[in-house]
């Protein structure tokens, strides 16, 4: 029996190739993402471990700022004196490191990375832990000198002697590059500018006697933990004091957020590849078994019992899984290397020689590869076991064609009803949490329902889809339509692979189109300013820029916006962390805010705040209540709810509650913040165009901010949503590649099964061109069928997602018709592509061999 299984596996290796490809793809993504994130994690763990001081004294940790307030937190530099006196301290260093600065060259272009990685200005001192060393020039001395890291210098063509301008919070200042520093460790992709310590303190932090942290070196024989305790005892508990290990871990964790995104994206790809791959594998095994019905019947007639037949099929799946996983693991290593190279172009230099393949990677790879194949082959294997010994003798063409679809009808209906109920529940629910979990349930149920019921839909849908074929293409069209209808299970399963991918994309496209439309509407409704000056990433910018804006001739109103990350204490006991905005008092001139109670005057008055009416009601907040508020750097206040707004944007995206207050209030409790946006209105006879020109001219030295009118602002938001869409399209691409493999698989098998039929057709005069067209049309109709199911399903999901978004205030609904049409047309193209090889093979078939076929 084992020998028979192995022979059969080898005999069908061509057929299994496409299934193996699906396994390889999913395993490659799983393995690639694990290897990549392990390698990156290891690299940065090492980097931070080697660069962290034995003990670091940091400012107390406030709230995590999901949206930056622009405040740089400091400790008094005088602490060094106190720490130096502690027993066991070998040395102390003042650290000054500011992350959100901009450095521009002679032509006012930023020298920072274009990837969103920060430009970091820091003080220069050399210890054995320094991540950089001086490569050329000399160390900076005095206010006018700086070092630049070599990667940045090379990329931006900066040389020793070149002038740079550092745009820091206290004010911009000019420096000359006096030296170039190279990384001795992995460059994490940031640009580094080094100043001497006094310059860094005064120019970056605005005060000569502060630091962002203090590094402490332990004397020989003193452990980090011991030293930490002694330092803590000396300076008191109002600082965050960490050992090297703790410091490295929190630094790595901070970077981890970004790396997690890459990991999850990759795992998303793996998920799609796996999901679509399952269909392909199920289909391949079903077809192999259908083809081998007589062979299996013979085995049974010769005395093999059901279990042996089932085991034989599962063993074949196991072999496929093992081979696929092994190749996939190899492909995953390649993928990880490719990703590392890609990160290299973004400035993050990772060495492929240090690639980390943890034990978890092969385990996960084989678990996914073998598991998926095994699960996918299980149903076909059971079906194989049910083949009766009589099948060896009967002249049945292919089993499975005529089997009734009753079970599928029942299961499909039940699942559809359950799924529809879940989606209806999602649409009617008013709680985001309930609504989104119902959405998830509904999506899963309707997906399974469509897969199960797919074969039932084949006949009615393809009758309609292919209705024009006989008229357009005569008998060739008629035969291809009938061929597609011939085995509804096979057609359904083949189309399912395409359906899953397209449904996913259609759903997310509807969601993103709806989001875009909602944001557009909100911007139209609320934004009243002629221009918004801000950073494309919503990063805060120095006061200097606001001053420049104010000084521009023709500006009438200038309203600043600052972000204030804070924690609310609500009457219902919840203490959510959110981000409030602070505005200047003339808010009404630049924004249209609808109030349910109170107005801008009350909302922006000192000691007051405004919040969304629905949010207030949900948390039992009443107008006039006083709420305890903790700001991100620790400032505490009791603020009065003086106004309630009636806007659509009540929450989501880290700003739940729609809380805002006067900028003066923010400044009082969260001092040292920076402006995140400046809203500007033209006045005094200056036209908007003129104002824009003068604003852009005045802001030319500040490449970190841009001037945007309403249309530009909408575009900015749209572009950010579009990033998500590109990801979706990439997922679609992958799903389609695998689905195409599935269609090729099915068609190739159909061609083999219909050898005699094709021979007959050729003998009685069907030309090669006509034969190829027949196969192409069949392929197209299957692909379009899959796309249609996917689009309908995806749009239903899209409506569900939109309902959830509506609870977050994004109430508009939009269907991206251009995408829908493109997908439908694309599906037809996919069909054509998939038919290429099978059609060629069919048309090359030797007529004589085909008709002589037993």
């Amino acid at each position: 029996m084992l020998k028979a299984t192995l022979r059969s596996f080898l005999a069908h290796k061509g057929r299994l190739l496409l299934s193996a490809l699906a396994v390889i793809l999913s395993v490659a993504f799983v393995a690639g993402s694990l290897i990549f994130s392990d390698t990156v994690a290891r690299t940065f763990d090492r980097l931070f471990a080697s660069t962290s001081a034995d003990v670091t004294v940091n400012p107390t940790k406030g709230l995590d700022e999901r949206v930056s307030s622009g405040v740089t937190r400091t400790v008094p530099a005088s602490l060094t004196a106190r720490i130096a006196g502690v027993d066991g301290v070998a040395a102390t260093h003042v650290d000054v490191a500011v992350e959100n600065i901009t450095v521009v060259d002679r032509s006012n272009d930023s020298v920072g990375p274009t990837t969103g990685a920060p430009t970091i200005a820091t003080n220069w001192y050399v210890t054995e832990r320094s991540p950089v060393k001086l490569a050329s020039g000399h160390a900076p001395h005095g206010p006018g000198e700086a070092l630049l890291d070599k990667d940045t210098a090379d990329k931006k063509h900066v040389r020793i002697g070149d002038p740079l301008t550092v745009l820091a919070q206290p004010g911009s200042f000019k420096v000359e590059v006096v030296g170039i520093a190279t990384f001795t460790t992995t460059n994490p992709g940031a640009a580094l500018v080094f100043l001497d310590t006094p310059t860094a303190q005064t120019r970056l932090l605005g005060k000569p006697d502060v630091a962002t942290a203090i590094s402490v070196d332990a004397a020989a024989g003193v452990s980090d933990e011991e030293l930490k305790q002694r330092v803590t005892a000396a300076v008191g508990g109002s600082y965050e004091i960490k050992t090297a290990a703790q410091q490295a871990k929190s630094a790595a964790d901070e970077l981890g957020g970004f790396l997690d995104v890459i990991k999850y994206v990759m795992l998303g790809f793996a998920g799609v590849a796996t999901l679509v791959g399952i269909f392909l594998i199920v289909n391949t095994f079903s077809m192999l078994i259908a083809q081998r019905t007589r062979e299996l019947g013979l085995l049974r007639a010769l005395g093999a019992d059901r279990r042996q037949v089932r085991r034989s099929v599962l063993l074949e799946a196991l072999l496929l899984g093992l081979v696929g996983s092994t190749l996939g693991l190899g492909a995953g290593i390649g993928l990880a290397a490719g990703l590392m190279a890609l990160m290299g172009t973004f400035g993050m230099k990772l060495s492929t020689a240090e690639m980390v393949i943890g034990w978890g990677t092969p385990v996960a790879a084989y678990a996914v590869g073998v598991g998926v194949t095994f699960v996918a082959a299980y149903l076909p294997a059971r079906r194989a076991a049910r083949v009766s010994p009589m099948a060896a003798l009967a002249d049945a063409e292919v089993s499975g064609i005529g089997r009734p679809l009753k079970v599928r009808a029942v299961v499909g209906t039940v699942l559809t009803v359950a799924g529809a109920a879940a989606l209806t529940g999602c649409a009617t629910s008013t709680k985001t949490a309930t609504s989104s979990s119902l959405l998830g349930l509904g999506v899963v149920l309707t997906l399974i329902a469509t897969v199960v019921a797919g074969p039932l839909l084949v006949r009615p849908v393809i009758r309609v889809l292919g209705a024009a074929f006989p008229r357009l293409y005569g008998p060739v069209g008629r035969m291809s339509q009938r061929n597609a209808l011939r085995n509804p299970r096979r057609t359904g399963a083949t189309a399912s692979a395409l359906m899953v991918g397209i449904a996913l994309v259609a759903g997310l496209s509807v969601a993103s189109a709806s989001m875009t439309k909602s944001f557009d509407q909100q911007i139209d409704k609320t934004l009243g300013a002629d221009f918004v000056v801000q950073n494309g990433n919503f990063q805060p910018f120095p006061q200097e820029i606001t001053d420049k804006v104010r000084a521009v001739k023709g500006t009438e109103t200038v309203v600043r916006q600052r972000f204030a990350p804070l924690r609310l204490t609500l009457p219902d006991g919840r203490t959510p962390q959110t981000t409030a905005s602070g505005y200047d008092p003339q808010l009404d001139d630049v924004a249209h805010i609808t109030y349910a109670a109170g107005g801008s005057a009350e909302a922006l008055a000192p000691g007051n705040l405004a919040m969304d009416r629905d949010y207030a009601r949900d948390h039992r907040v009443r107008l006039g209540d006083t709420l305890p508020v903790t700001f991100s750097t620790g400032g505490r206040a009791r603020l009065r709810v003086a106004a309630l707004t009636d806007m659509d944007t009540s929450g989501g995206f880290g700003v739940e509650g729609g809380v805002f207050m006067g900028l003066a209030t923010v400044e009082r409790y969260l001092p040292g913040g920076q402006d995140a946006a400046v809203y500007v209105n033209a006045g005094g006879g200056t036209s908007a165009d003129e104002l824009r020109a003068s604003l852009e001219k005045a802001l030319d030295p500040y490449p970190q901010v841009q001037v945007r009118n309403q249309a530009d602002y909408k575009k900015l938001i749209r572009d950010q949503i579009a990033v998500m869409l590109y990801l979706v399209y990439a997922l679609l691409g992958l799903a389609i590649v695998i689905a195409v493999l599935g269609v090729v698989n099915t068609l190739a098998l159909s061609v083999v099964e219909r050898t005699r039929e094709i021979g007959l057709l050729r003998a009685i005069g069907l030309s090669r061109v006509q034969l190829r067209r027949m196969i192409r049309l069949e392929s197209v109709v299957i692909a379009v069928f899959g796309a249609l199911l996917g689009l309908v399903l995806g749009m239903v999901w899209g409506v569900g997602i939109q309902q959830v978004l509506a609870l977050q205030g994004l109430k508009a609904f939009a269907v991206p018709w251009s995408t829908v049409i493109a997908v439908a047309v694309g599906a037809a193209a996919v069909g054509l592509v998939a038919a290429l090889l099978p059609a060629l093979r069919a048309s090359r078939m030797n007529v004589l061999a085909a008709i002589a076929h037993e």
């Binding site: 063409e397 005569g474 008998p475 060739v476 008629r478 035969m479 009938r482 061929n483 209808l485 011939r486 005699r756 039929e757 007959l760 057709l761 050729r762 003998a763 009685i764 005069g765 069907l766 030309s767 090669r768 006509q770 007529v847 004589l848 008709i851 002589a852």
Partner: protein, 274 residues
């Protein structure tokens, strides 16, 4: 017609002709001669049967005459057209428009109804069938009440009748039937032979049939006997008994070294291929 007058005159009364037709499989020392310089004329309006032991080249002869297979040497004409040297595309068109086919099994497309199967060659060509003729063929073959059925709903005999109707429907110059009764029981087989006979007698068609069955051959106007790739004998106005006797003679007779004992009982050999 672009055919020279001389050739036309020469082919008067001949539906297909082969001269020095040679077909070899393989090359060099391993080459096998399936047809060894065969000369044959298929008379128009006649029912010709081709018989011979397995490997005698009878199927190859048919395939070469029908333009399904290429020849190694020699010439083949269909009517006035020399088909040796025609391109694949021209051969396809020739088969579609001028030749009808019946095979032993798998004659019909399972997805098409009987009516659709019958008109398929014309549909492929994009030609309208001659209604009157079509009705006559359908009635002759007694398929009137089976037209809407799929092949799976028809018996083997009915399927062969549909195949026969398809072969006749476009009123081809020549119908090739490759073991048309091979898969049928004797009654259904006799029925199909009657229809082929009628196609010749009443409808004026030309039929070439490859067969193992002396009874089937007995219904033809002329039987050609092949052995080792040559035509070794022919028998006008045959009967089943005469054919059987001739075959017996074959198995013992001179010049038939490849023939074996099984030739005496050709219809009992299930492994025999056309």
């Amino acid at each position: 017609m672009s055919t020279p007058a001389a050739a036309t005159a020469e082919t008067e009364g001949v539906a297909a002709r082969a001269r020095a037709l040679t077909k070899a499989y393989g090359t060099g020392e391993t080459a096998v001669l399936a047809l060894d310089s065969v000369d044959v004329d298929i008379a128009r309006g006649r029912f010709t049967a081709v018989m011979g032991p397995s490997g005698s080249g009878k199927s190859t002869l048919m395939h070469c005459l029908a333009g399904l297979d290429s020849v190694s040497a020699g010439q083949v004409w269909l009517g006035g057209t020399e088909i040796t040297g025609l391109k694949e595309r021209e051969l396809t068109r020739l088969r579609r428009d001028r030749i009808g086919f019946m095979f032993q099994a798998f004659n019909l497309l399972p997805t098409l109804t009987a009516a659709e199967n019958i008109t398929l060659p014309m549909d492929i060509a994009g030609r309208k069938p001659d209604r009157e003729w079509l009705e006559q063929v359908i009635d002759t073959l007694g398929l009137r009440d089976r037209l809407g059925h799929r092949p799976a709903q028809l018996s083997g005999g009915q399927q062969q009748r549909v195949a026969c109707a398809r072969a006749l429907a476009s009123r081809p110059e020549l119908i090739f039937a490759d073991e048309p009764t091979g898969n049928l029981d004797s009654r259904a087989g006799a029925e199909v032979l009657t229809f082929l006979r009628e196609a010749v007698d009443r409808l004026g068609q030309t039929v070439v049939m490859v067969t193992h069955d002396p009874v089937a051959a007995g219904r033809a106007d002329l039987v050609l006997f092949l052995a080792d790739g040559r035509i070794v004998d022919e028998m006008p106005r045959p009967t089943a008994e005469a054919v059987l006797d001739r075959l017996r003679l074959f198995s013992g007779g001179p010049g038939t070294d490849a023939a074996t004992a099984e030739d005496g009982a050709p219809d009992y050999d299930p492994l025999r291929k056309g």
